[in-house]
């Protein structure tokens, strides 16, 4: 089966949050608290165990290329964030029970009946997506609407999005479409537009995201890491350094013993 995922074109997002509501409704997720954050129109704040789509509202004192406002240097970036379903997923590699698996759709899925709530996955996600629920202890995140996919339907968020900012489909096709869109934006002078996580070359740490984005500012502006990596990618260099350190220390220890012995006998 071909790998499927999301291409989110943030330049056509209108911040309506239909994606947030559709996701909550389809998955019957609990609310995350009724909290006025004062962060523009974003009272959701972050992805978590009970919020699997989160719309960011970034008010910048910087104009958007191609847009003019009587306010002067100002623009409002809107972005629907979601689990990235990384090609190389930190959460999956950290999971000790095998609860987190890669499905036939190439998505990353947490089997709630296997998860023991150890929380190793939470610290392994470079994006801070997955989290444990307080009440039942298990780890939860976006399922890429696994149940809907099995039924031949698209995920709820993609279906609800009125402007098709969230596009779902075959990843190869989405990448091609995204490149076409990028090219068009560049032709219209929006030089700062780029794809985030579209492939391994662009994001070696995750080897590419199955939910990738078109952005117009640095990743940090969207509260995304500029160079995310699955922690296990660091394992080989870490163990290698460790091996050298061990060898070095063993050599030093042996050397110390030999030198000491030699000194006493003479």
């Amino acid at each position: 089966m071909a790998a499927v995922g999301f291409f989110t074109d943030t330049t056509i997002c209108i911040g309506c949050k239909a994606c947030e509501v559709a996701c909550k409704e389809w998955n019957q997720l609990p609310d995350d608290g009724l909290l006025f954050t004062g962060m523009s129109y974003d009272n959701t704040a972050a992805l978590g165990a009970s919020t699997w789509r989160h719309v960011s509202f970034i008010e910048r004192p910087v104009p958007l290329t191609g847009q003019e406002t009587g306010l002067g240097d100002f623009s409002w970036l809107l972005q629907s964030d979601v689990c990235k379903h990384c090609h190389r997923a930190g959460c999956l590699e950290a999971c000790p029970t095998g609860a987190i698996i890669r499905t036939e759709f190439d998505s990353v899925y947490v089997q709630p009946d296997v998860c023991n709530g150890c929380g190793y996955c939470v610290v392994s996600c470079p994006f801070g997506v997955i989290d444990r629920r307080e009440d039942d202890g298990r780890a939860w995140k976006c399922t890429l609407c696994y149940d809907r996919l099995k039924g031949g339907m698209e995920p709820a968020c993609a279906k609800a999005c009125p402007t098709d900012s969230i596009q779902f489909g075959d990843l190869d096709e989405l990448r091609e479409r995204a490149r076409g869109r990028l090219e068009r934006l560049h032709r219209h002078g929006v030089a700062e537009a780029y794809l985030y996580g579209a492939d391994a070359a662009g994001q070696p740490g995750t080897e590419g995201l199955n939910a990738f984005f078109l952005l117009v500012d640095k990743p940090e502006v969207y509260n995304l890491p500029p160079d995310p990596a699955a922690p296990a990618k660091e394992a080989k260099p870490a163990w290698t350094s460790m091996a050298f350190a061990v060898l070095g220390m063993a050599a030093a220890a042996v050397g110390a013993v030999l030198t000491a012995r030699g000194g006493r006998e003479s």
Binding site: T11, I12, C13, I14, G15, C16, K17, A18, E20, V21, K24, E25, P30, D31, D32, G33, L34, L35, F36, T37, G38, S40, Y41, N43, T44, E59, P61, G66, Q67, E68, T69, G70, L71, F74, S75, W76, L77, L78, P162, T163, D164
Partner: protein, 877 residues
């Protein structure tokens, strides 16, 4: 709506379309992806602005000046569409000599009657004739309604060179001659260069090959001169030749799922179904009189008697006969103005005994909640139907005045009945959406417990009332007893069949009850019945056309087989104008509807809005009457002269042309005229409805505007009980600029108290650049933005912004002014409940010596149509 994808330029003004119509907005994005320019004109930078090409911050309440500026730009620069204007509008018509413009009379038109506070439109007429407005509403004016209908159908004299000083075109030109880019900058706070960019974009994208569309909503309508805002846009679009053309026109964005339906099958006091006029006590003394006074000798409205008779046959069945005037006498008559605010003011004075609130929550959703609650305390009984107990239902025990102990629940005599309502998934019915499209919704589940549909409630209420008064000889009961009330019911709860109602609305032949297929088949001899002529065809051939669901990808883009649009499944009105006088499209690119000479009828992408077989070359004979007066090149078929009215000789209470007036409560003097505000506006001069000074009120120095958020729906009963929506916007907040925050010590996430003379509210503070200060005449004026969704009920609760608004209204449709008023703001919360003016004044009165509201002084208006009512408060002053 999908027609918007064909626009070359879209101006969204008086609307926050992406915010309030996110799904419909997909068509604006579709246009944008095809290269259209999207312009958003709004006091704030909103979610619509975020995806627009150009955002223009404008002072709320100055749109007539802005649009008037574009009209002047188009005229001076000769950018108007000459062929369209010459043939399709009344530009060449000559106006009578007595007409005087606002430019002559410092802000008034000729015919202002100071005593009555109304205009007499006699001096606005075309030279030598008298044209009535398309829909009859003649009693808006002083003097007798015209009972002598001349045989003239339009103007008598014309100048097709458009040079005559009294031709409409020259009057229009002169009227807007002072609306220069410099003036727009001063009045609207829009820098000249930015204004010129908009004007140029709109003009460059109009004409044969390109079209511009306007989209508006309550940012235009909810002003004391709101109707004239839309008129200004209509004039501009007619001048540019955009009306009736693909990707052109004016999209009225309505704010509820079926509010269009609520004016079509009206819940409005002054119209009958299909926009027929309600009978008036003073004038419509019989059916013959009613027809005589509302008939038109020309234009499509001449068919009106067929619609009126068919309506009465639907309502009264066999009891309505030609001999008894179709039982017209049984209909209630209007004795004056019974609009919302007038009725509530009368209620506050103890004149109204009972009140039904069905899916309506006025203490939050309307204006001046405290005056509404005071009014309801005078009722004998109140019936509320809603999903949950609303703030209006609980007015007697949950209100700020009760919290403060100023009113005690045990002293409120009103008996309140609460009926739980079924939701739209629990009942059959149709919605009529903002593009006049009827879409059926099917019952999916039984309503829980005692919840019932409106249909059930009204049907059984009517049935019981009929049983109660059966056999009565009282003349007052005859109408009720004669009503046909025989809808089939089913199920345990005896739910009436909504489809049976649709069948009646669509209309049928009385003899065999077969559905009528189109309104042209309706008769005035009693052989047809029709509940609403514009909906005729919605049940054509006995098929529920509104339930059709052919997917868009299986039909052409106009999608005539999804649902059913009124009238006659026509998606674009006046689409005859998309073809030139000879019936050929103005251009290939903008082909929509055209004359097929071979088949001798009109054809195209949509149902043509013209008599199907009337050729472009047809000209009416001298003795032509009714619809035969419409020439083959008269696209505006509802008008008596078949033309688009740049200048409206009648039909509007406040003038034939739009004029810049300031809101009731503003921040600057009217820079154009001595007449500050709309002279025809409706005011309620009562102690419990105090107004601020017209400008420079030292107590209220900031401009307030109210609006919606995507996450919530109107007064909140449908959204604030749902956690998935409530967590997205949990608390009432105000939006202020960083400068205002510094000035008043407001902190982001903190609290503020906002006050007007009517009341005060508390809100969280959101500091943002998106609500900029205005620079007007060298002064900086700060704005406060308030969403209006919160009330005291629900999972999330907060104060209602509409508590701050006064009773003041537009004279044509009596809509409130919620988009521009003044107020004050302080950091922090009140220590003990919030105050309301019905318990006593909130702020000290000002000594006289400040600006007066109107020059010349309007004087005392008598009680009556659009008059003022004296304050006769029952509960303490």
């Amino acid at each position: 709506m999908q027609d918007l994808q064909h626009a070359d330029c879209i101006v969204i003004q008086g609307s926050n379309m992406a915010e309030c119509h996110p799904v419909g907005f997909r068509w604006v994005m579709a246009a944008k992806s095809r290269g259209a320019k999207v312009i958003h004109v709004d006091p704030r930078f909103t979610r619509t602005s975020a995806v627009a090409d150009l955002h223009v911050p404008i002072r709320a309440g100055s749109d007539v000046a802005f649009l008037g500026g574009i009209i002047r730009y188009a005229i001076e620069g000769e950018r108007w569409f000459r062929d369209y204007v010459l043939h399709y509008t009344n530009a060449p018509s000559l106006v009578c000599e007595d007409f005087k413009d606002t430019e002559d009379l410092d802000g008034l038109f000729s015919g202002w009657n100071e005593k009555d506070g109304q205009y007499d439109p006699a001096s606005w007429a075309y030279e030598g004739t008298d044209v009535g407005p398309a829909a009859g509403n003649r009693e808006h004016f002083t003097g007798q309604p015209h009972s002598e209908r001349g045989t003239q159908s339009g103007a008598e004299r014309f100048d097709f060179t458009l040079q005559h000083p009294r031709c409409v075109f020259q009057i229009l030109k002169r009227h807007f001659s002072r609306y220069t880019p410099e003036l727009v900058e001063e009045v609207c706070g829009v820098p000249k260069e930015l204004f010129l960019k908009v004007a140029e974009a709109v003009c460059a994208n109009s004409g044969r090959e390109r079209t511009t569309a306007f989209c508006y909503a309550v940012g235009w309508t909810q002003h004391s001169t709101g109707v004239q805002y839309i008129r200004t846009a209509s004039i501009l679009q007619l001048l540019l030749g955009n009306i009736g053309r693909p990707g052109g026109g004016i999209m009225a964005l309505r704010g509820h799922a079926s509010i269009q339906g609520s004016t079509d099958i009206p819940t409005l006091y002054d119209i009958l179904p299909g926009y027929l006029p309600s009978p008036k006590d003073k004038h419509d003394t019989s059916f013959e009189q009613y027809v005589k006074l509302n008939d038109s000798p020309s234009g499509w409205w001449s068919e009106f008697p067929k619609y009126a008779v068919s309506l009465l046959k639907a309502w009264f069945g066999a009891a309505a006969t030609k001999e008894n005037g179709w039982l017209f006498d049984a209909l209630p008559r209007l004795s004056g103005d019974h609009s919302h605010m007038t009725t509530v003011a009368a209620m506050a004075d103890g004149e109204v005994k009972g009140y039904f609130l069905m899916g309506e929550n006025p203490t939050v959703g309307s204006m001046h909640g405290a005056l509404h609650r005071k009014a309801m305390r005078q009722l004998d009984w109140l019936v509320v139907r809603d999903f949950a107990v609303t703030e209006s239902a609980d007015f007697w025990r949950d209100a700020p005045e009760i919290e403060r102990g100023e009113v005690r629940p045990e002293d409120v005599p009103t008996e309140v009945f609460f009926f739980p309502a079924a939701t739209h998934t629990e009942k059959d019915g149709a919605f009529t959406n903002t593009q006049r499209l009827l879409q059926w919704h099917h019952k999916a589940v039984e309503p829980p417990g005692d919840c019932r549909s409106e249909l059930h409630f009204l049907y059984h209420l009517g049935r019981r009332l009929k049983e109660l008064h059966a056999g009565s000889a009282d003349p007052r009961d005859q109408g009720l007893l004669a009503l046909t009330w025989d809808y089939p019911v089913s199920g345990e709860s005896e739910e009436p069949s909504a489809e049976a109602v649709l069948h009646e609305i669509n209309g049928f032949r009385v003899a065999d009850r077969q559905p009528v297929g189109q309104f042209t088949d309706l008769k005035d001899d009693g052989s047809t019945a029709c509940g609403c002529w514009i909906y005729c065809g919605s049940y054509k051939d006995g098929v529920n056309q509104t339930a059709r669901r052919k997917p868009g990808r299986e039909q052409p883009w106009v999608a005539l087989e999804w649902g059913w649009a009124w009238p006659a499944n026509r998606h674009m009105l006046y689409n005859r104008a998309s073809a030139d006088p000879e019936g050929r499209p103005w251009s290939e690119r903008k082909r929509y509807v055209w004359w097929d000479d071979e088949k001798q009828h009109w054809t195209g992408h949509d149902t043509p809005d013209f008599i199907a077989d009337r050729p472009p070359s047809y000209r009416p004979g001298k003795d032509a009457r009714g619809i035969d007066t419409l020439a083959g090149d008269n696209p505006f078929v509802m008008q008596g002269d078949g033309l688009g009215w740049l200048y409206a000789p009648s039909g509007l209470a406040d003038g034939p042309l739009p004029t810049h007036y300031e809101p009731q409560e503003g921040v600057v003097e009217n820079l154009l005229y001595g007449q500050q505000c709309n002279p025809g506006r409706m005011e309620w001069l009562r102690r419990d409805n105090p107004y601020h000074r017209p400008w420079d009120d030292p107590r209220f120095p900031y401009l307030i505007t109210t609006y919606r958020l995507t996450e919530h729906h109107t007064a909140g009963a449908m959204s604030r009980w749902l956690t998935w929506l409530s967590e997205l916007q949990p608390e009432m907040f105000c939006e202020v600029s960083p400068e205002l925050a510094r000035e008043k010590g407001l902190t982001n996430g903190g609290w503020a108290t906002i006050t007007t003379a009517r009341g005060e509210i508390e809100a969280r503070v959101l500091v943002t650049e998106r609500i900029p200060p205005l620079r007007i005449k060298g002064r900086t004026i700060q704005q406060i933005g308030l969403p209006y969704h919160w009330g005291s009920k629900g999972r999330v609760r907060g104060d209602a912004a509409n508590e701050l608004i006064s009773f003041v209204a537009d004279p044509n449709v009596s809509i409130q002014e919620s988009k521009a008023l003044t107020g004050a703001i302080e950091a922090g919360r009140r220590s003990r409940g919030r105050r309301v003016v019905t318990s006593g004044p909130l702020v000290p009165a000002l000594r006289s010596g400040g600006p007066e509201r109107d020059l010349p002084v309007v004087g005392h208006k008598p009680v009556g149509p659009h008059g003022i009512s004296e304050s006769r408060t029952q509960e303490g002053d």
